[in-house]
Structures are given as C-alpha cells and as structure tokens.
Amino acid sequence: MGEGTIGMSMSRRQLLRMIGMTAGGAAMYQAMSSLGFAAGSGYAGPPRLSGAPKGSSVLILGAGIAGMVAAYELRKAGYKVKVLEYNARAGGRNWSLRGGDRYTELGGATQECRFDPGLYINPGPWRLPYHHQGILGYCKLLGVQLESFVQVNYNAWLHSSQAFGGKPQRFRAIRADYHGHVAELLAKATQASKLDAHVTREDQEKLLASLREWGALDKNYAYVKGDSSSSRRGYDKDPGGGLAARPVLSEPLRLSDLLGSGLWGALALGDLYEFQTTLFQPVGGMGVIGQAFARELGALIRYNAKVVDIHQDEHGVRATFEDTTAPGSRQSVRADWCVCTIPLSILGQIPMNVGAPMAAAIAAVPYAPAVKLGLQFKRRFWEQDEQIYGGISYTDLPISTIGYPSTGYHGSGKGVLLGGYVWGVDAMEFTAMTPQQRVARAVEYGSRIHPQYPAEFDNGVAVAWHRSPFSMGCFGMWTEATRAQHYDNLCRFDGRIVLAGEHASYLPAWQEGAVTSALDAIGRLHQRAVAGGTPA
C-alpha cells in the first residue's frame, strides 16, 4: 500500500545519507549492501526446500499473500498443508473490487460495486516495484501478466488549496521551475565566489555548466522565460505543424510563489526507491495475483473459517475455527507446525498459548488508518480534456491522491479513478462516515482539481481499512522503538508457531514484505522439522 514505506524506511535512508556524506560513496555502497538495500528486498530466488519429514504437516492461518506463498512452497517440499481463511475468497489485502462485487464492512454497511466490465479499483496494494523480486517472481510463476504502472506523470496535477488561487499546477512546470530557480541561485553563488571554500575554480566551471544543463538556464545562467525553460515546463501553445506551428513560450512561476506554495514537497516522491521506474501492475487488477494463488492451491484452502483459538503442545498445534456460514459451529485442525499470518490487529484477540515475548510483540503494533476510494466516471475526461494518461495527482485536501488508470487508454466508455487515498487523522474521519458519505466527500474534494467531477461522476466505492472485517486496519504501524523492543520476538519461533506477513517485515504494507517474511519463516520451519525428525 504504497506510501506506506515512505516514513518507515526513512531512518535507513537518513543513515545512508549520513554515511554517504562522511565516508564517501564506496563506504556507502558497502553499507547499502550489508543493509540489503543495494541487493534488493532480500529475495534470493524461489526456495529449494525438499525432504520434508515423512507425514509431517503444517497448518497455515490466512490465505493472503504470505499464507499462500508458505502453502505453495511447503506443499512442494512435501509437507501436508492446510490453510484456513476467514473470507470467502483468497488474497486478503491483495484484492480488486469489480462490478458485481459486494463488500460488507464492519458495522454492516454493504456496498455493491457498480463498475463497468473490465474496470476495477485496488483497495489494497496497487503497484509492484521492479526490485520486489519475490512478488514479481510469483507473478511469473503463476502466469500473472504485468503491465507498466505509471507513478510519475509530468502532466498530472500538484494542488494546494492555499496556493495559486487553488488552481492546480502541472507537475512538469513545478519541477522545471524549482530546478531552474535553484540552479540559478547556485550559479549566482558560484559566480560571486561564495563557494570558493568548497569547490575548486576548475570544478566551479564544470558546476556552472552542469547547473545550466540541469536547471534549463539561459546563456547567462538565468532561469527565465525562453526556449530553454519552456522546453522543460511546457508552452502556452505547443509547437505544431503548418502555418499555425509557432510555439508560444510560457512564463516561469516566481521563486517566492513556488516556495510558498509548498508544491515542491511532492517533487521527490518518484525518486523514492519504491516508486522509481519501472513499476508494474497485474493486468486486470492486483487481485489477479491472489486469484492465481487460489487456483494453484485449490482445495488446500478452507474458506469461511474464523479462527477462534490456537493451542500448541509439545507435539503440534491445533486451531479451532467457526464455519462462518454456520455460526456457532466449532471445528478444529491439527498439524505438526503452524505458520500464522493473521494480522496482529486480529491475532491479538485470539487466545493462543505463546510465551510473553511473542504475546507482547503481537499487542504492540496498532494498524495504520487508511481509506481508498474508487470512483467511476461516465468518460475518461482526464485523458480527453487534460491529456493525463496514468500517474498520480497530489493535493493538500484530505483525499491526498488522485490516481489515474495505467491501462485502457483512449477507452471510449467509462473509467475508474482512485478518487482518494486518505491517511491518518483524515482517514479516521472518513472511516467514521458511511460509505456513501465518503464517496460524496471524495467527489466534492476532487472537483477542486477536476471541475468535470460533478457532471461526470457515475458511482463509487469506499474501503476504510479499519472497517475491514478481515484486517481491522491497513498495515502494521511500527515505530523505531517498538521494532527495537518487539520485532525479533515477533519473528522468532514460539514452540511450533511462527508468524509471517507484512507485519513481520521491514517492508510494511508491501506485498514483498509478506513474501519475504513467509519465505524466511518456512525456511526456519523446514530446518526445525528436518532436525527434529518426524514429530509424533
């Protein structure tokens, strides 16, 4: 779930920046490699587990990405595997809502998705970075087709309700003007000998040349209206052909207006490791991955199974569950080992006899509030009127994000936008509303960026993650302090139980965290099982 990693990985990024500044690039690369950064997510290819002790069994709780990766690999290694899943579908937070789908949230409000055929919204994860080789590897293995996900769109909007009269600005123009003004300032400082203490004379010439290039400065190192600046920020009238071919240059924004707008705050988002090109999405919606896993695992997954008790002894683990289609019923499954992927928000409420360290870890992680909105419009006006093909607009309004579909370009029918990705305190407020109120509010806010909204709006769905019956929150909200105190205890085996999921990873909210934590957990499970022989 995307932006989820920005804050979480910041401390590592800050550390790397510090190392880079004090010790230089080579030390930084070494540090990066040892932190597992330069090398990717820690995914080292599909595991080659084999030789499960004869007759040994594993019970997996939760058929999300972590649970299904574990089930797939453990079955392959020769274990007898059973998966219990609360929902009537597989995937967990890997999920796409399509026309005809019904979703009942906690509190009982039911939404029927009325999108046109082929259109969808991903309430959970929606993008796959190229370096998330674990989840991408399973896409390949399961035949899940991928297409490009557009993160940065130079023609999308940056919007502040407090700047430029509330008029959205093109990302392209804000970026060009920010770089241009900063380059001009640096060039001035260089020419005024203000950098002599830091940069040699010889390097100053190179620096000036690079600033002209980077900032689109003119021959006098000024960022002004001209061919150079318009070639970055765009034209008032684009160059064309024939008699009316001549372009009309555009006027850069003033530096003080630009700084005051705060819009520069969104420029570096696409530079974040997780958001760098190339990103992918599965053709047909993120939920296709979960569906592909479910097909692969077939009858291994028992649906509509609500786990109410987990009990281990020295020989194995027994989970008691209720068949939610027969309320009050009780059944149980027993196995030698248990891989539990139930979100901590729910697991903390299920009786389970683990030691104090794991129990304390489970209780220590509240889940982040987030709300996503899918809005269907009668036509793809963002493409037709505004030439926005995929990508994201950002705003200071509570909706924060408008995501344009990276597929189906030039479609003549209806289209679905991510009409909001609401976070924190705003998400709490959206969660407290009815689904209809959330959708209405998102349309109201979005119309400030796209005036076409009121006339073109068709229907919408709103998923407030704290109202999700199967996760009760968006993702595990770790802090540096809780990680230091609890993370290892959460991941360590407790007897015959091991936990997995994005909550047991340093990639919060990312499916890659679920994949890599599951592979790590089953690797350790296999070692134990082999070392211990066939449990009684």
Binding site: A163, G348, P366, T395, S471
Partner: protein
C-alpha cells in the same frame, strides 16, 4: 491542541499534503467543505470527538462490531465503570487502538495522527460513560487525566 503541531512534525514524509501544511497554510478549504479533524479537532468536544474519530471503530451508538476480530461495544461495557481505565486507554492506546496522547514518535509517520488534550480525553471519557445507555457516575477532570501515567 496538538493537531496542527502534529502536522508540522510530519516533515519527513515526502507527502505534499504534510508539507503544504508545514509551509504554514491552514486548510481553510477543507474546513469550508466540512472536513473536521485537522482544523477543528483542537476545539472539539466529547460528542464531536466520538462522532468523527471513535465511531470509525466503535461504531455509531457504541455498538462495536464483530468480524475476524472485534471492536468492543461501549454500550453496556462494564469496563467503562472505571473512568481512569477509559482515560488511560484513550491516552496510551490498547493493542490495535492507537495512542491519542501526544507522541514523541509522531515524526516517524508520514501522516498525521490525532492528538487529544487532557481536557478532550476527559471529555470523550465522560461522553462514552454517559451515553449509549451507559449511566456511570463520576466525571473525570482534565487535571485527573493529566496525572495519569503515559
């Protein structure tokens, strides 16, 4: 009292909404459109805090909800007989319930979490103990909340 401060602390996230507020612009438009939390949280009373924040999980009427797990119903909950238990829970959080007291680690998140003053913690505590069919006696004061450990 701390909602805006909290937003200012969210500088680490490269999220434009945080930075816009950090740049000193109160989201007046959001207020015009009826958005509640950021501009209005600092003056919200117990009923408003419940309606705009708490009921996201505890539901309208304090009914709670049951899915794979549950959110406790506040209506008829005997745990509410202790005002300090309720206030402590609001201040420090409990399992999946977040902390609503000011938090030193707020800067680690790229989004703003709500912060309630001692007076507001008292107000929402008193509200839930006297609504939804609850009639627990003994109001807690801001001074008493202030004395609670956090």
């Amino acid at each position: 009292m701390n909602a805006v401060n909290t937003w200012r602390r969210v500088l680490i996230g490269a999220s434009v909404l945080a930075l816009l507020v950090a740049a000193g612009s109160a989201p007046v438009l959001a207020q015009q459109l009826g958005s509640f939390c950021v501009p209005a949280l600092k003056s919200a009373d117990g009923a408003q805090i419940y309606a705009h924040i708490c009921q996201g999980c505890h539901m309208p009427g304090g009914k709670g909800a049951v899915g794979a797990g549950h959110y406790p119903a506040l209506a008829g909950d005997r745990a509410l007989s202790s005002a300090s238990f309720v206030a402590l829970t609001v201040l420090n959080g409990r399992r999946n319930m977040p902390r609503f007291a000011r938090r030193a680690d707020a800067g680690e998140f790229y989004f703003a979490l709500p912060v309630l003053s001692d007076a507001q913690v008292a107000a929402v505590t008193n509200y839930v103990r006297t609504h939804f069919g609850n009639h627990y006696r003994g109001k807690i004061t801001a001074a008493e909340v202030k004395a609670l450990p956090r």
